[in-house]
Amino acid sequence: MKFWWLWRKREKELEKEIQHHLQMAATERKERGATFREAQAGARREFGNVGLVKDVTRDAWGWRWLEDLHDDARFGARMLLKNPGFTVVVILSLALGIGATTAVFSVIYGVLVNPYPYANTDRMVHLTVHETRGNPLFINLNGPQLQQLRQAGSVESVAAMGGWNLTTTEGDLPEDVRAVYLTSNAFIYLGVPTLLGRGLLPSDAPEGQDPENVAVLGYQFWQRHYNGDPGIVGKKIQLVHKSYEIVGVVRPRFTWGDGEVYLPLKLTADPARTYFPMTRLKPGVTRRAANAELQSLLEQFAKQTPSHFPEHFHVTLAGLNDHFVERIGGTLYLLLAAVALLLLIGCGNVSILLLARGTAREHEMAVRSAIGAGRSRILRQLLTEALMLSLAGAAIGVALANGLLKLIVNWLPEFSFPHEAAIGINLPVLLFCVGLALLTGIVFGISPALRSARPDVAQVMQSSTRKMTAGVHSRRTHSVLIAGQIALTLLLLAAAGVAMRAFVSVVKVNLGYDPHNVMPVGIPVHDHTYTTWEARGTYFHQLLKKVSEIPHVVSAGLSTNATPPNNGWELRFEISGKPAEEEQRARINFVSPEYFQALHIPLLQGRIWNEDETMHGAKLALINQTLARQYFPDGDALGSAIRVPELKGEPPLALAVAGSDGWFQVVGIVSDARNDGLRNPIMPAVYAPYTVMMPVWTQILVRTRIPPLGVLHAVREQIHTVDPDQQTDRDVLDLDGRIKHEPEWEQGHLIATLFAGFAILALALAATGLYSVISYAVSRRTGEFGIRMALGASPKDVLLIVFRSAVMSVAGGVLAGVLLTITLNRVLARWIQGSSLDALILAGVVLLLVATAGLSCFIPARRASSVDPTVALRCE
């Protein structure tokens, strides 16, 4: 802008200077006796062409490039508008690639690179351990242990949190509120300022005293419950009949623990009460050194509270985002690879088209160069055009990216990315995109430009005709580009095929239970309520009875930890009289007898315990087919006994029946149902009466005649009649919906859909590329075909000539693509879980590609063969 202003000023000054010159000259002439008109005209004549003088003077300013740019851009725009087909294809090719790449890169940036708003996130760790086998375990510590952790040499600071479901007790039905209790240093530890008011302060939980009744609201909760009331600070909120003063509201990205309200936590000395530690390492301390130091500390803790630790473990501190990187990282990088392929194919298209046009414009360039255009001037003209195309592509690409981004974020598996992540097209991503566009423009704009900028003027001019076949060099470049495009498209198509098949196998998996018209309603039990085994058992029983009475309910079963398709606690078990050679693990489920009826899981042998046995906490068990087959191959399961040694209560939280770690008699075998997700094989499972183990949360599975969510309100009202303070989980999904929220389903859906979409786009791009090359070649050979046909060639012969010209590159591309796909198969199989490439997919993909390529050739070939020879010959 400033530059423009300066330009205008100098322009005006030059005008003034020249006017003054003319005036002086005229005045002098008049003094010598000329008339006014003669003097004016004479002065002008002597001066010469004013415009031209200005022009050459402006040259001296050294700003000429700017004017040239303006001219180039205008000329470029005219050329591009003259060939709308070319322009649209190039811009779309770039826009698709850039849009898709930007979208996926934005997601990666948001989820993997910079997901957290907290301070020094790189030094924040989760205290996790690995058992000898299996997944990482999060370790919770009790109050005294946390104090000791604080003293560790590698640790800078420790905060802690606990969670509990509270309820608002102001409305008709109690509303569930996820409370996160944080030690009073946690807000300082996390280092994010609040939106309104203040965070929790050390003075909110003074040492040795009960914490103050203050609450900080989560952003979402503040929006939902209070409509974002800006004057909320200072008001009161009632949670389970206790009044808290609202002192602040956190920022939208502060979602630590997905809390809806944050309350001060007082660490107690009770060894059974554990808290989730939040640890920040000192600067410069490696993960490894910290692991080593904490190993001995945790071993010491394990001696104090053995039930909180696995038997053997080694400390493996995990970064805040490690879990998510593991879950979704591969998927996202795979998508990035896919869109990068799409971008490459798009760029291939652009390159083909620019190259073809460059050749077609050789004559124009020769004329320009013959009348004195410098080489750099022509190069600049072509570059300007290429850059205009790529910038237009980038602009449309950003718009496309915006749409695609929303789609991907919607489809991301809900618990596979940190909720703090702000996924949006942000500045780094935008820069990446524009950089990409410019690079594409320069690389692919300059390669044809370099060639056509030094045309062999004499040769081009002499060959008087504009229609001639392109040189061998350009034909070879075209063939290589086409082959490359086809190879990459084949890879993408094969990947899409594999991903779709993997997803189909997830969708069509045999569940072993009937999810239709069943909804699980979660029931969090309040702190300090129903603290004896009898009271809690009776309470759960009453809840179940009340819910069963609802008219549309067919059956209702209670299940503490058994919501398929991923259910049960995975624990070690023993079989009476059969000492285990290796570790035996099973999913242990606590359910009521109606559970099997509600889920339509058939009983195959024996019996299910009855209501009376449930109320007494009878030590009876059902096992699934897998367990029976694996551990009782002789069919002697019924009557045997199973023991789960780790099954111990921890009052007042988890209430177990006396002798819960003793022997359970197996009374029946039920059919297998998915219990380890949709893809993994079904694990051995044990079902025991829910009264054996009652934690502070349970749920009722309700089977209904009508769509179950329609009954939810009735269920809540019935529960309300048993305990007016008893809320249910707010977000209830029926089992059909839950399947669609399983990570395998969501991930499979995301990958399959996007890959299919990208593959189709790639196919369209490659087809356009091939079509452009063939029709360009055909249009240049119109004269040749005219001669051939005049000499007796049939349309079929011409058709064949055209096809033959494409066969080599298509066949080469297909071959390269097949080889590439087979080579990359292992990588693919690792990232698209549960997938494998087979001959069927590969054959299908090759067929699809060849058919598309055939069609892309056929259309221009037919045009060539149907041309009238007399017209063709005259078109010179």
Partner: protein, 114 residues
Amino acid sequence: MSERYRNRIELLQGTLDLLILQTLLWGPQHGYGVSRAIRANSGDLLQVDAGSLYPALHRLEKKKWIGSDWKISENKQEVKVYRLTAAGRKQLMKERSRWEQISDAIGGILNPAK
């Protein structure tokens, strides 16, 4: 057309620069004044046309050999007046000695030593 002008600038470049700098040595002058002075001092022999003069003036200004100020003329007009800078003075000396060398050399060729 523009090529014609550009070529002439190139031909005259060294010489024209020298003439302009020399003219400004006698005092600040506007563009028309410079062209008139060159013509008068060469006995109407050298005529510098505007298409050479103004690019040369602007180029010398960019090189900081001459500076310019806007002044108000007797008939109340804004006039751009060029003046020689210290760097220009130095440049003038250089160009002069070079010109004299060339002039001597050519003179020597035309009039071989008798």
